[in-house]
Symmetry: C2
Subunit: 142 residues, 2 copies
């Protein structure tokens, strides 16, 4: 790829890809540690972010949450159960379609997510340059 000949891979190609995956793992490990330090299983943090970070126009439902987290719908159900037990989110009946359950964050969840998001954005600002460089090396023809 470094010579734009997709058929032949050099050792460097493997190394760049391996380094990219390592960088992604480090970021998610950072995120996991930050969530757990706040008393939050990482997937619950992801759910809070997905709910809060959803375009305000559309309603966030169990099904949409599943799509955004790339998990099966029944897994999203279970995840929302855990969020509810932890007092972080609750189901709000959708008056127009009583099959649907919209999701609302508690004040506690908003506060947690606020501080978590600050920390994550800062971390990403640190990581961004090297990630961008890795991505550009992947793309480079030389």
């Amino acid at each position: 790829m470094s010579e734009n000949q997709p058929e032949r891979l050099s050792q460097a190609d493997y190394e760049v890809l391996a380094n990219f995956r390592f960088a992604l793992r480090q970021f998610t490990a950072f995120s996991t540690r930050a969530a757990q330090a706040a008393g939050l299983p990482p997937q619950q943090h992801q759910a809070l972010l997905a709910i809060k970070g959803h375009a305000e126009a559309e309603a966030m439902t169990i099904g949409v949450l599943a799509e955004r987290l790339l998990i099966a719908p029944q897994t999203a159900t279970e995840l929302v159960n855990r969020l509810a037990e932890a007092g972080l989110a609750e189901r709000v009946a959708d008056p127009h379609d009583r099959r649907r359950h919209a999701l609302a964050l508690s004040a506690k969840a908003e506060a947690l997510l606020n501080s978590m998001t600050l920390v994550h954005l800062r971390e990403l600002q640190q990581l961004a340059p090297s990630l961008v460089e890795l991505l550009q090396v992947l793309d480079r023809a030389d």
Copy 2:
């Protein structure tokens, strides 16, 4: 962050971060599908890449594999057991330190990893522009 005031987060900040995580999930989901289509559990694919993509100078051992995959050493042991059972890698006794086990890929593993890596690099070349843009939005002061 979009105004470089780390104390206040806008809705857009949450959305950018949520979109970034979504993009990462999509990439790992792509990778998982590609691995499983090749008959490989995704973590075994990661292990092969980490072994192959390790700088040639240093030996790749169980412990180093654990560091690169960000897993506990005993988990790396179990992973290597599975790789060995699948005929993808084997332990090579280190003559200088008989506690250490170096790791060597089989021809089958090399072939699998070659085609997987080609597909991954192509996918990343597609994804790179939007990932870079997301990262730059995260960093932007406006």
